[in-house]
Structures are given as C-alpha cells and as structure tokens.
Symmetry: C2
Subunit: 419 residues, 2 copies
C-alpha cells in the first residue's frame, strides 16, 4: 500500500509570498523525500484575508440579514480566500519544478450539509482524486470550503481547514495528517504560565478533544472528532522548523492504544472566560431545570458545569452553573425575565472565576486522581467553588486570581514538570 | 415570451461597498419595474482587485513559469475577484428585500475552451439557469470566468466580463444586454478632442467592431463579435445616471437593419500607438512577403496596414506596413536579424505617426466617401503616408502631430458635429 501524506498549513504559515515560498520548501522536501506516496496539502486563507472578506460581506448585507439569507452568500465571498492561496501555492510548487495543481471544494466534491457558515463534512467524493495524488501530482487543496448538495459553496466555520485536512486524510487513507501551525505541538499546560511545561509526544483523541473544548487553540474540536471517527493520526507541527520534521517532532494525536507510556494525567488546562450563576431558592418542582436550561439554550448560551443543592428554605433548592463570561449579560437578562416562571428568590453572577481542569485517559483505571487535585489546591489555600467530572477530566471552578497558582500546583502534583 | 434582462457592471461601478449599494439600486429599479421578465446581472471584480491578484500570482510563480504551467493556476487566483463581487451584490440585493443569488462560472456551466487566461466561451449550459431567472430570483453572475471541459477554472482575459454578459444574454434569449460603464455611450469621436462629438443612439455590430479594434475602450472586441453572432442587442450605458434609463439612453449596438437613420459615416477613430516600417529594395521574389510577415506573426507583432510598391532599383520593391508602437522594438530587432534572408537594402521605422479612420456601414452604398476624406485632410495641409480601406472603414496614416486637427476636420466634413 502506498503511504500518502497530507499536510495542512494555517493562515500565518501562508501569510505572504515569502511564507508561501517557505511552505513550498517544506512540501518539496516531503515530496522528494522517501515514502514515494503522493502528497496532498491543505491551505487556509492568507492571514487577514478572511477577516477582510468577512467585513466586506457584513458591510454589503448591513444589519438586515441573518441566517440563511446571509450565510450562503457569505460563504461565496469568504471561500475566495482559500482559493487564492491554493492557486498561489500550486504556482510556487511548480516554480520548483514539481507537478502540482489546486483543488477547490467543488472540484474535490468535498460534500457538506447545508449549514452554511458552519457546514459539516459528509465526505470527499471525487473518484479521480486519489489517482491524481498517486500520479505524483501534488494536490493543493483550498481548506475550509466545500459544496452542498445544491451545488452551492459552503464553508466549515473558523478553524475549518483543520477539518478539511482530516477529511482529505481519511479519503486518502493517509497514515498521518500533519497540521503545521505556529506552535510546535501540544503541551502539558500553557508554557506562558508554567515554564516547566513539556511538549507531549503523543496524546489520545479523547484527551485532545477535552483540551480543544477547554480552549486550547491548537486544533479545532471538530477536526479531532473527525480524526477519531476515521482513525486518522494527526500530528501538530511547527512550520518554522526544519524542512523535514523528525519522527518525534511535534505531537501525535492518535488512538489511546498507540500510546505506550501512559500518564495518569496528561495535562492541565484552564479557562478564564467563565461566569458563575447562582439561582437561590428555586421552587423544587419537576421540570424547573428544563425551563432554566431550555431558555438558556434558546439564547445560545453554552452552559457548562451544573450543581444542584438543597436550599435553606423548605422545598427549595439552589442551582449553580457556569457559562462563558462573554455570554453572561445575555444569560442574566434572560434569567431575570423568567424570575416569575422559574420561581427563584435571588440570582447572583460571579464574573471573577476561572475553570482549571486536569485531563488524562489514565483516570479511567487509576483511583485517587481527584484526591491529588483537591489536596494540591487546598495545600495552596485555594477554595473550590464548583466541581464537575467526566470519565477523563476533572474540572474545578476557583477564584480567577488563583488561576496561575492552581495550574502550577497541579502541574507539579501530577508529575508533569520537565526535569 | 418573457423578456429577460441582462445587465453588466464593470470594476469601477462595483469598486467599493457604496458603489455596490448603488448598483443594487439600479438593479432593484429594473427588477421592480415593468417587463416582468427575470433579471441577470454580470459583475466584474472590484476595481483594483484583479491587479492585486495578478501581482500575487506573478509573485508566486516568479519568472520561471510560462504558458499552461502558469495560466491555469493564474485563473484560479484571479477568478476569485469576481466571486467576491457576485456574493456581495447578492447580499446587497437581499438587503433590499429582493430574492437574489450568486452564480459562479462552474455553477452556470459557462463552458470555455482550455486557453487559460484568454479562454473562449463555448456556451452557458446549466439547464436550470433560465428557470431560476424566470422564477424571479435575480441571478448575480461572476463575470470573466468559466470552466473548461476538465472542470478547471478558466478566465476570459481582460474585458471578459462584457463577453460573459453577452453569452448570458444569448443563453437567456434576452432582448438586450445592458453594459453599464463609466461613459454614457459610444460617441462619434473622442469628446476630449472634438467638443461637438455626439453620442450615437445606435450603431451596427460591424461599426462597433471597427471602433473596438481601433482602440475605443467601450466594449471588448470579442463581446461585440459574440453579440453579432447571436444577434444580442447590446446597450452601453452609464452607471452614474438615473436608476431607470430611458428608452433612448446610451448607445444600442444592434443589427444594421434596426438602424433607420443611417449615416454614411458614423464616427471618426484615431490611434497614436502606431509605428511605420519601411523596407527599401526588397528582392522581388515570390514568397518574400510570407517570410517577413510570418516572422512578425511568430514574434506576436500585430501588423495592420500593408502597402507594396515598386522600388527605384530594377526587380526590387519597397514594403511599408504599420504595427503597434509598443511592439516596434521587437519587430525591428526581428527584421534586422532577417536582413539577409529577406534581402532588403534598408529599414526605417517612423514612430511619430498616427492612424485616423472613418467608419460607417453607409460606405457600402455611397460613393465619394474617400474623396471627402482626402479633400478634408489636404484642405488642412495634412499629408497622407499610407491608406488602407475595408468595406466600412477608411484609415490613413499621418504625422502624429496632426492627429487632433485631422479628427476635427473629418468630424466636420462628414456632418457629424452636434448643433
């Protein structure tokens, strides 16, 4: 079986003609290097291009248009950015004497649903695509874009080029999908906070999903989901390093079974974009939670941690939950308008909170992970306001001013510090 | 039969969001106005966008790529400009409560040959397109672009959006194709030279072709050819005038038979981009002209007027021809390299010459047209260096410094001056 390679370069990596020439060097090294399989390259729009196009589309539409009336033509405008980069990189590769051609979403038949602006990929269905790649012609693919079943241009939403790359890798049955970005991999935590943070050589899909949904900007959540579903190994690499990355460069996102040295906890994540809502003395009626969280969902508020406890008053309870701080005003207004219907006594919103999480597939088989966390935090005098857990994650809500202290304490407590 | 309308707006007319909003007003007035037939709008890229994209493509390719190795990806990059405008105008129309959608070259199945960068249109083949227009949804078409039989993006070359518009009008069997531009029609001559120049209310295809090939920038030659072949009436209008142009606004380019008040001469054109080559004492051998003009054709030099006359030397002749001044150096170098093969005695190149032409289908049935021209010029003491004629055109080559004088004299002599 031939081993096909898929590489993806983001907007900063193709930000101007010099950087595109640099990307052409990296692709050339891979194409001329061993392996012998074909190469497909997925590119984003040049940094800044998408924002300019979004601004134009919004300007043309004014405030009048929403939803479908805006989104399908927005996609037509915005998808042009990736089209330009694909053509430019194909030219830059040919300049080096390589065979290359661009592929747009509709040429690749990268089929999506009709959710314009945030479309989901159905599949890559051009029957001639694999053969073209195998012929040795480098495929330069405009990321972020597809085509819906009506033959209209669709886009995948911000970060969608990662998802394009994974979809192409799945279609090509490529061994790995290399995502070139401006960081050199996934770290045990934010190196700006913990100087002893270590680059992970491997991380499982599940852990990466938790990292991504906790705000790590390295990979888009949907691209990780798709990689997991299609068992595509994704490697996160820096485009500023050498032309041919070594075997152990970057971070490989892969199946848990491929990870030999399993850590109980792989990393510590944090988010400051949190607000804590407390509804005091909610009438203890069946269905009251459905009213609260249904209304917030209608408002587009992403509720995260939820805790329910008995209140001092008889037959009443307190409900605590968190939501992104940027959605706090909207959520508060909606809850206030529903005070009578919900029947609560008081509402408070805490804005100065942060969520700190530890993540690791090892939690499934190890006990005492939570105890380590709570001890480490109490050892520093940090009060835990809310706790929520999943199979491979424990999150706590704390006072925002303790964020760095907590992250550092946990990084040390779980033995993640580099020597 | 429904009367469908096709409108086309050039790069200046859609140069920014304000101008696009203005175009939306013009289209709205037409769509809501009488007639009842559907409306299709063809747009160019925003002024300046194409040049930026061309620069990017050239920068990515460097000097290394030529011909097909450059042109197909150049088309991918450059075609994105019209894609953006089409999406933006569709949004601007929806903002006004109109139904509208964009159509890209590949969606319209505007099929072309594979001559990337200067492709020729084969046809508009999407079987659903007419029905979509008839449904009352305004079709906003990205001009200048098509798709070749391999499913690659193609572009029609500079000015190609005019040709797109005529092709769309032919496919829709539209009664007229309105080309909105920054002038309000076709004039009897350049109003900057002759203040009494008059706007022509109608002009025949044949005359327009002569005007276009003589350098009038109003319509691209190929669009006029296509209009003539498909009997599409083209109206040249200003996009800076009222929303709903009157019946007699602009200039209608149409069949000769639709023009009731025929003038013998419709207009006076001139070109200063001329150089006059004289080859003295060319050996009078069969095939020598083929050598000279074959070599120039290989060099891409567009030879125009050609005159051959006996030279003073026995068995030798002088050959005079004109070519664009910007191609003069290239032509001269090639002829010098062929001096031995051609066997001429001397070569001179006159750069300070201009071509002045009178055009009119009336020449076919009227005599004395040439006489009027020669008398008018000699009356001003202007010496004629070369003469060439076609069925509906007489051109003379004169000293460039007499250009304005000649144009004015001819405009008066043929009764073209406005009262």
């Amino acid at each position: 079986m031939v081993t096909r390679t898929v590489m993806k370069f983001g907007g900063t990596s193709v930000g101007d003609l010099n950087r595109i020439a640099r990307v052409a060097e990296i692709v050339e090294a891979r194409a001329r290097g061993g392996g012998g399989g074909g190469v497909a390259v997925v590119v984003s729009a040049m940094a800044g291009a998408t924002n300019s196009l979004v601004e134009l589309a919004r300007g043309a539409a004014g405030d009048a248009l929403h939803g479908q009336a805006f989104d399908d033509e927005y996609d037509v405008v915005v998808a042009s950015g990736e089209q330009v980069t694909a053509g430019l990189l194909a030219l830059a590769l040919r300049r080096k004497g390589l065979r290359a051609r661009s592929w747009l979403g509709w040429q690749l038949l990268l089929n999506t649903d009709e959710a314009h602006g945030k479309a989901r990929i159905i599949g890559v269905d051009n029957p001639h695509f694999s053969a073209a790649v195998d012929s040795g012609e480098i495929a330069v693919i405009a990321g972020f874009q597809g085509v819906d079943r009506n033959g209209r241009v669709s886009t995948l939403g911000r970060g969608g080029s990662d998802t394009s790359a994974v979809a192409v890798a799945a279609a090509l049955q490529a061994r790995t999908c290399d995502i070139y970005t401006d960081v050199d991999g996934v770290y045990t935590t934010d190196p700006r906070i913990v100087s002893k943070a270590r680059r992970l050589s491997r991380i499982s899909y599940e852990e990466m999903l938790e990292f991504a949904s906790l705000g790590a900007k390295v990979l888009q959540t949907r691209s990780v989901e798709m990689a997991m579903n299609h068992r595509v190994r994704v490697r996160v690499l820096s485009s500023f390093e050498g032309d041919v990355p070594g075997e152990d460069a970057g971070t490989l996102v892969c199946d848990e079974e491929e990870i030999l040295e399993k850590q109980v906890v792989s990393g510590v994540a944090y988010s400051r974009d949190e607000a804590k809502f407390t509804l005091y003395g909610v009438a203890d009626n069946p269905g009251v939670a459905a009213v609260i969280f249904g209304a917030l969902a209608d408002e587009g508020v992403n509720v995260d941690m939820i805790v329910q406890a008995s209140a001092r008053s008889e037959g009443r309870q307190n409900i605590v939950f968190t939501a992104p701080d940027r959605e706090a005003e909207r959520a508060k207004a909606r809850l206030e308008s529903l005070q009578e219907k919900i029947g609560y006594e008081a509402l408070t919103v805490g804005r100065e909170v942060a969520k700190v999480s530890v993540i690791g597939v090892g939690m499934r088989s190890h006990t005492g992970v939570a105890k380590t966390m709570f001890e480490a935090l109490s050892g520093k005098g940090i009060n835990i306001q809310v706790i929520s857990t999943s199979e491979i994650k424990i999150s706590v809500l704390i006072d925002a001013s303790y964020t760095e202290l907590a992250v550092r304490a946990l990084h040390t407590a779980y033995g993640l510090d580099a020597e």
